[in-house]
């Protein structure tokens, strides 16, 4: 499997690159010690901490130590909360996963039928209406749509809780806000994929054999059109995790996005670093997964390679 090997190598290079970029960003301000000390530390405390954390060593030595620590999955200890960073972040991950899952559900549930309808009823008023809907979803700032929903469904109608994470109902609005952009890209992709398939000979062949148009679409077109859409779905998971930073802040949802912003405010930069690394790793693995899934779902690609 030479293909698998080269893809794995690419992913490894990307992981290494991400680690390197994050290392240097953390040192952009000159002295990373200043990012980690709590407010009000004295000069002696800062100097002692700088020595204890090894920030007085040459940059290359620090870089080596940083990579070694990460290789042992040692993410360091938060100086603000006096606890291992890994635990602090891990505690919040399930919340973000639930939110990303809800958003993906919204995006797939609305985006796929919308894309299919846009392709099947091409050139009708329905396509134009749906195209406008998709375009709006793509241009909506998540924090605005989130706030509007809070205003309407939470405050005016009082149907849904405006913030927090007490029950499933509080997941509804954040999921819709976060899922809107992804929904648009699903709809666009589905439309293009279905249009591509509709022009193929097997559609005409199926119709000639006496199958109804609906049966051809359900049984044959959808199956083929699913291939590019599945790969997009994997990539979108990474985007959803990143978008969670804003949506979680709007809805006070206690996931890693909210944690990142809180940690910046409390100057807990190791936590921020860990979150960036975590999301990037998920993103890279999803990319890899998408590429591999492509070959599994579509036998033609396997043979071509």
């Amino acid at each position: 499997m030479p293909e698998l090997k080269s893809r794995l190598l690419q992913a490894l290079i990307a992981i290494f690159g991400v680690l390197t970029i994050v290392f240097f960003i953390m040192r952009l301000s000159g002295d990373p010690t200043l990012l980690l000390v709590p407010d009000g530390a004295t000069a002696e405390q800062i100097a002692a901490l700088r020595h204890a954390l090894g920030f007085d060593r040459p940059l290359l030595v620090q870089y080596g130590a940083y990579l070694l620590d990460l290789a042992r999955l040692d993410l360091g200890e938060s100086l603000v909360q006096h606890a291992p960073v890994a635990g602090i972040v891990a505690e919040r991950i399930p919340y973000t996963m639930a939110l990303a899952g809800g958003a993906l559900l919204v995006a797939l549930g609305v985006g796929l039928p919308a894309g299919l309808a846009m392709a099947v009823w091409r050139g009708t008023w329905l396509e134009r209406a749906l195209a406008g809907f998709v375009l709006a979803g793509q241009s909506l700032p998540t924090f605005w749509s989130g706030l509007l929903m809070i205003l309407f469904f939470g405050v005016y109608l009082g149907w849904l809780p405006t913030s927090g994470s007490d029950d499933l109902a509080s997941l509804v609005m954040p999921s819709v806000a976060l899922g809107a952009i992804t929904m648009s890209s699903f709809a666009r992709m589905t439309r293009i994929a279905v249009l591509d398939e509709l022009s193929r000979d097997y559609v005409a062949a199926g119709r000639a054999r006496g199958l109804s148009y609906g049966a051809v679409i359900l049984r044959h077109v959808l199956r083929n059109a699913a291939i590019p859409v599945v790969t997009i779905a994997a990539l979108e998971v990474g985007n959803l995790l990143a978008g969670a930073v804003i949506v979680e802040t709007v809805f006070a949802w206690p996931g890693i996005g909210q944690l990142a912003i809180q940690s910046i405010a409390s100057r807990d930069f190791l936590v921020v670093q860990t979150i960036v690394l975590f999301v990037s790793m998920v993103y890279i693995s999803m990319n890899l997964l998408a590429d591999l899934a492509y070959g599994v779902i579509d036998p033609r690609i396997r043979r071509d390679r």
């Binding site: 690419q10 290079i13 990307a14 992981i15 690159g17 991400v18 390197t20 970029i21 994050v22 960003i25 953390m26 952009l28 301000s29 990012l35 375009l135 709006a136 793509q138 241009s139 909506l140 700032p141 924090f143 605005w144 706030l147 509007l148 809070i150 205003l151 405050v155 405006t162 293009i192 990474g238 985007n239 995790l241 990143a242 978008g243 930073v245 804003i246 802040t249 709007v250 990142a260 912003i261 910046i264 405010a265 930069f269 921020v272 670093q273 979150i275 960036v276 999301v279 990037s280 993103y283 890279i284 990319n287």
Partner: protein
């Protein structure tokens, strides 16, 4: 000259309105956007006093919302235009060089592109702004230096295609150096697709500026930004809907127009993509 449809005209009108509002903010705003008046806190749209009129109401410190939105448009336009220029410059330079020289230059450049694209943009911007400290200059720097990979990808692929064309070979044989060939002969021919990318990036930059300001990492108070007005609006969402509704509607409208303009531009540059 092709006839321009009503829809297209509307897009241009929207973009023009945004630019005019941003450039002429001081002409259109009848009140100082920074002037506080604690007696006039959170007044609804249409509030008039003996000396001033607040068509869109006031914010939590009694400042004129219309003036703040107009000046916010200026901040938005400046951040987006400057950061797109920075990233365009960086990305296109890398892409042209990677496409022309090939070999290890292209390997390093394209690996760097893959790596940059592996870190979700908003997180990368959040981390970098948090480390460097917020502010207008850092915001432009961070957005400009993190959003170049898409230009590099497009410039690289296009340069590879164009470099093989006879007229480029001819220029080379006539004795042109790489700099002259790339800038005078290659760049003009790949400008179309690059402009399409730049347009979509412009819309994204406006969204990023607003998002980062909403998170408190962008334009700093007291200076207005659509994002930071809305983050105040979030605290007063029950009492003052206008603080959320108006700046958000502006942001949505502008981004929508930019995206539609991008689609229109793409159809012009690449007729095959029409209706896609």
């Amino acid at each position: 000259m092709r006839r321009i449809s009503w829809g297209t005209a509307l897009i241009f009108a929207g973009l023009l309105a945004f630019m005019v509002a941003a450039v002429g903010a001081d002409v259109f705003a009848s009140n100082d956007p920074l002037r506080q008046s604690l007696l006039l806190r959170l007044r609804p749209p249409g509030t008039a006093t003996a000396t001033a009129y607040f068509p869109l109401g006031t914010d939590d410190l009694g400042r004129d919302l219309l003036a703040r939105i107009l000046y916010g448009a200026r901040a938005s336009l400046m951040v987006a235009a400057l950061s797109v220029s920075v990233s365009l410059l960086v990305g296109v330079t890398l892409g042209l060089m990677a496409g022309w020289f090939g070999g290890w230059v292209s390997i390093i450049a394209m690996r760097a592109v893959d790596t940059m694209l592996s870190i979700p943009a908003i997180l990368l911007a959040v981390l970098t702004v948090a480390v460097l400290g917020p502010g207008f200059f850092n915001l432009v720097l961070v957005l400009g230096l993190t959003r170049w990979p898409r230009y590099t990808r497009v410039a690289y692929a296009q340069t590879l295609q164009v470099a093989a064309l006879p007229y480029v070979r001819a220029a080379e044989m006539a004795g042109c150096g790489p700099g002259r060939i790339l800038l005078r002969h290659v760049l003009p021919n790949i400008a179309g697709p690059l402009m399409v990318v730049a347009t979509s990036e412009f819309g994204l930059m406006i969204l990023f500026e607003a998002s980062l300001s909403f998170l408190g990492l962008g334009i700093q108070p007291p200076y207005p930004s659509w994002g930071s007005i809305m983050s105040v609006g979030r605290q007063y969402v029950v009492r003052a809907w206008w603080l959320t509704a108006f700046p958000g509607a502006c942001l949505f409208g502008v981004v929508l127009c930019v995206n539609l303009f991008g689609d229109w531009l793409r159809d012009r540059v690449d007729p095959r993509s029409q209706g896609r």
